[in-house]
Amino acid sequence: MNLLTAEHVEKRYSNHLALDDVSISVPEKSIYGLLGPNGAGKTTLIRIINQITGPDKGEVTFAGRKMVADDIYHIGYLPEERGLYKKMKVGEQALYLAQLKGLSKTDAIKRLKYWFEKFEIQSWWDKKVEELSKGMAQKVQFIVTVIHEPRLLIFDEPFSGFDPINANLLKEEILKLKEKGSTIIFSTHNMGSVEELCDHITLINKSKNILNGPINEVRQKYGSNVFELAFRGDVIKLKESLDSNYTLISNSEEAGLKKALIKVNNFSSDNRLLQMLLPAVEVTGFNQVIPSMNDIFIQVVQDYNRVNGLSSN
């Protein structure tokens, strides 16, 4: 079941179209990656989901019905451009923001204590925000985003400003939240974390949705027709065994382990290639090279822009 869907959403600002017929459907209890180059329209879509602005056309549904104003209580949003009141104390501020999310004061205090202990930041309670470093403030911000245990969490570049240790801590927390049943929309440029965390992705480019689907399917689909072979034997023999449908791109030898990359020119079954290779060399490893999300991102965006005669900026 989808927790959130956006159907044919369009949003126009005075001089440009920010979103053009964008549809997404976010399955419940999944992590949904919202990807795209800078200025593609991700933030606009997120703002529409948060009801900060409304769409010009299209509809957003939440838990199976049209989204209403009170749904905001079920959403936690960590914007990319985030900040806190500098002159306010950390505890007071967290309490204020938690109460704005609809928690009662006692409830908010109880939950804040739990999170502050978990992140080992109890000593910050009476500090002013301006005394904290950027990473420290980010932690506080993460806490106030998840404090009301919303059904839907939206993280816009959550790892920026974190050191690797804290980024890892955060990653674990995000996965735990998913286990507990939260649905997470995750907007980032960090493709490594997308591969690690996301179940589904949507790629938005130039206001349009250009790629959609479960991450494994996407990667399979863009799985280049290149195979990596680990073998023992002679490279020349290997080369001779291939017919015109296959090309040896490269080969290497490292610590006695020989590897070769073979490209399939026209579609054929993987077994056919293996059958051809088996008599020539001893195969110790054989797998399809799955492209990284990074490669897919760059390839898809550049292809789209080239086809549509757009510049990549």
Partner: protein, 448 residues
């Protein structure tokens, strides 16, 4: 609704707890009290120093005719030339010397007071009135009217116009134009000052939220309108608390200080009265003792002040202050939302402050004719009415005018706040550019 209360609470508490707020709240009444008590204190300390003035009277008309006071003594010199006096002035020890020309009777501008410093206004006015009077008397005498002294005595009158306001039932109330004007001044200036002070606080608050980037976090849980109104109302509450604290503390300080002063002064006044009565006996007793006169004036002051309709004034002040503040604060918030930093605000604040400054200019002339067309019309126009209506209020304003002006203010406040909210919700999410009023007008016309 709960959210807007939360926002109001935060805006209020975060400001009230600030050191600068506490210091301002405590120090300003001291300043006010000093301004209120200071003049009378200074008057008490009035030059007790003996000043001796040398007089060179070439007309030979004024010897013994210029009255001496406790502090001003005259010494008529007959044989000194002005040249030598001028030369030896430093050593002579005189405060000043007065030169009266031969034909002083016919050309009065031939009277000169020389001094090495600026003579005090008391001295100058004492001398000029004395000489004036003497010349007038001399001129009258030149007509050779019989019993001129008698006539002069009977003619001499001093009147003091008492103004009594009649209320509807014909009930009399003593009023005092001066007191009414003073009240009008204080009320209008207070409103002007507070709108400026706290209006810019609203603007600064909006800019702070924008530059610290907390605004996006908050408006994902509260509506921009709630955030804007919460801020405005919270700051309005801060300002009311501050005004209240100022009024209460100022009165407290003034009362304690003046009660201390009066007990201390009793002895002094007693001795003064003694010397005055002595003087009276010597001079034949024409002067009213200064202290008694002061006392009368003060009583008159207090009754006139007490006869002001305090309920109406306080109610009017709170209504027009809040109305004016809400109106201007919404505009200040709109400006704050359209810029990235405080330095960018100057040009955009101009159109807002213009009507405020205009109000103060009109107030100064309006106070002289509070029912004139100028004051009337500007007390109806919502952008100036908060100040001008308060200028008119102590003089008495017909009820229908209050109703019209008040309703206009409320309607305008609603319309302006609605427009400001539209500007605000667009502006707070836009960064990196300073927007003009023309662009902001476009935001108003966006459909939401």
């Amino acid at each position: 609704m709960n959210k807007i209360l939360l926002i109001i609470e935060r805006e209020f508490m975060s400001r009230v707890k600030k050191k600068s707020f506490i210091v301002m709240t405590l120090l300003t009444p001291i300043l006010f009290a000093a301004l209120m008590i200071g003049p009378s204190l200074l008057a008490n300390m009035e030059s007790t120093e003996l000043t001796t003035i040398a007089v060179v009277d070439n007309s030979k008309q004024f010897e013994g005719k210029i009255a001496e006071t406790n502090y001003i003594k005259l010494k008529f010199l007959s044989n000194e030339s002005t040249e030598s006096l001028k030369k030896n002035f430093e050593e002579s020890g005189y405060y000043a010397f007065l030169y009266i020309n031969k034909n002083a009777m016919t050309s009065p501008d031939s009277i000169i007071l020389y001094s090495n410093k600026q003579p005090s206004i008391d001295v100058v006015s004492h001398i000029s009135t004395s000489i004036e009077k003497e010349i007038e008397t001399q001129k009258l005498k030149a007509y050779k009217i019989e019993n001129i002294d008698e006539i002069m005595k009977t003619i001499k009158t001093k009147i003091d116009v008492r103004t009594i306001k009649l209320s509807k039932g014909g009930e009399e109330k003593e009023s005092n134009t001066f007191v009414t004007m003073a009240v009008a001044y204080v009320l209008s200036f207070m409103v002007y000052m507070m709108i400026f002070l706290f209006g810019t606080q609203v603007m600064r608050g909006v800019i702070e939220e924008k530059t610290s980037r907390i605004v996006e976090v908050i408006i994902s849980s509260a509506k921009p309108f709630q955030l804007m109104m919460g801020k405005i109302v919270g700051i309005a509450a801060v300002s009311l608390v501050q005004i209240l604290a100022w009024v209460v503390l100022t009165f407290a300080i003034v009362n304690t200080v003046s009660s201390i002063m009066t007990t201390k002064n009793i002895d002094k006044i007693k001795t003064e009265q003694q010397s005055v009565s002595n003087l009276m006996q010597q001079q034949g007793g024409v002067q009213t003792p200064a202290t008694m006169q002061n006392k009368e004036v003060k009583n008159e002051f207090m009754t006139a002040l007490g006869n002001q309709n305090f309920g109406l004034l306080i109610g009017g002040f709170i209504f027009y202050f809040l109305g004016g503040f809400l109106l201007y604060a919404a505009l200040f918030a709109a400006v704050g939302s359209a810029v990235d930093s405080e330095t960018d605000t100057q040009q955009m604040v101009m159109p807002i402050t213009l009507p405020l400054i205009l109000s103060i200019i009109i107030m100064i002339s309006g106070i002289k004719s509070p029912d004139g067309p100028l004051a009337f019309w500007f007390s109806m126009i919502p952008f100036t009415s908060p100040i001008i209506m308060l200028t008119r209020l102590p003089f008495g304003v017909p009820t229908w005018q209050l109703i019209v002006s008040g309703s206009l203010l409320i309607i305008t406040f609603i319309v302006v706040t609605w427009m400001a909210a539209k500007i605000y919700r667009t502006g707070i999410l836009l960064y990196g550019k300073k927007y003009s009023w023309a662009e902001m007008w476009k935001w108003v016309r966006y459909k939401s």
